[in-house]
Amino acid sequence: MNVLALDFPPITHLFEWPDILFNGTWYAVNKTSLIYMAAVVITAAIFLSAGRKKTSLVPVGVQHVAEAGVNFIEESVVMETIGPEGKKYMPFLTTMFFFILFSNIFEVIPGIQFPANSRMAVPITLALVVWLIYNFVGIRSQGLVGYFKNSLFPPGVPKALYLIVTPIELVSTFVVRPFSLAIRLWANMVAGHLLLVTFAILTAALWDATYVGAVAPFAMLILMTGFEILVSVLQAFIFTILTAVYIGGSLHPAH
């Protein structure tokens, strides 16, 4: 694709990867799948290694990472959104945070440079899992009728407004929510990857043409790489905290 005299690769070339193993089968493995596996291995390695170390007064090595993560999820996610009764969801939320974070962060790892969540597979899968969980939690804690009544007819709203509010709540809570959750993560990672690719191509093209002209896009590339690290962490946090907010909403109906 030729954009402004630059040879920009077609969009599919930036996000679709050829099969590496089991080519053509339903269980074919590509780069995206490998990144997900790496996210599992890294997260499990950190936590198992941290858990195996002897408890010391001052945490050392990977204990820092694992404990800071757990502490962060507990203090900034669970206690802020659900409260003490949300602690039983901490293993799920911690797993989700680290899995998304490591899947995202490969965006800036040299030699890999691809955020696995810029593919829709995992964001939509996780969002549907979240949808199932918060609906299940809501039905279990409030009862089937109570949950739907509290969700669709929020207390305190003038009765006439239910004509407008109820359809909006129905669509937003039960239909749009998982897709908004998935698309927020996916679109952010797609945009980040496109930004990095754009500045990388600009840098390469201007280096070939003028050398000096490459300085500005290269500086932007460095800047955007730092920014994308922030986005990777932030998106993992947003996905996790929204999950906690939805679970909290199902546990405590609006008064």
Binding site: P18, D19, S33, T43, F47, R52, L57, V70, F92
Partner: protein
């Protein structure tokens, strides 16, 4: 950690560059055109310019070539990625729920508990030390009061003793002085009596021998006493 490094290296090693993914628009067009050309020429081995012209102007072939430009929607999830991604998350969730999370959280809780216990123990030790300090301070205050009391008592006793001794000494001195005076007086009287007896004896003897008179003893004694009184009166 080694596992993490191996997994990272495997991604770098196995995953090709982005440009290797799928087919490019150009290769797709070339492939479709070649397919259509083969299809058109059938059994014939040679491709004529007419064949090329025919295929190039065939609307069905043009539609097929246009399809090459339509990229698949990047928003639609790939089944294989859903399977691997979902399975990966599930496996991680099981590992974390069963082992990883409880181990880390347990260690954190144990540390918090230890710190809390240590703080409690320190607080208890501080309270104990403060109690001991208060005790010592109270004892010290008692001791000071007691020592002051003892000193005061000793002082009072000493004063009393001094006064008593002084009074006693003065009384003894007065007594001794009186006794001495009485002794002197008695000895003086005795000495006078003795002297008087001696003098009277001597005078009597002398008078007897001188006078040789027949005065009886009483008359002699009266005379002598009168004499002595005279003498003492003249001496005194």
């Amino acid at each position: 950690m080694v596992a993490s490094l191996v997994s990272l290296m495997s991604i770098v090693a196995f995953a090709g560059p982005a440009s290797a993914s799928g087919e490019s628009v150009g290769s797709c067009v070339a492939e479709k055109f070649e397919e259509s050309l083969h299809h058109h020429q059938g059994e014939s081995d040679h491709v004529t310019s007419e064949d090329i012209h025919h295929v190039a102007h065939d609307e069905a072939v043009q539609d097929e070539l246009e399809a090459c430009l339509e990229a698949p929607s990047p928003i639609l999830p790939e089944l294989t990625e859903i399977i691997w991604g979902g399975a990966a998350f599930l496996i991680l969730l099981v590992i974390m729920v069963k082992k990883g999370f409880p181990a880390v959280k347990g260690a954190m809780d144990a540390r918090s508990e230890k710190i809390r216990a240590d703080l409690d123990a320190a607080e208890q030790a501080k309270t104990d030390a403060q109690a001991v300090q208060s005790d010592y301070e109270a004892q010290l205050a008692d001791a000071k009061t007691e020592s002051a009391r003892i000193i005061e008592e000793a002082r009072v006793t000493a004063d009393q003793l001094r006064t008593d001794l002084s009074v006693q000494a003065e009384a003894s001195i007065a007594e001794m002085r009186e006794k001495a005076a009485a002794d002197v007086e008695a000895q003086k009287a005795q000495a006078i009596a003795d002297l008087r007896a001696e003098v009277s004896g001597i005078a009597l003897g002398a008078a007897e021998r001188v006078v040789q008179s027949s005065l009886d003893a009483d008359a002699q004694a009266r005379l002598i006493d009168a004499y002595i009184d005279e003498v003492t009166g003249s001496n005194g």
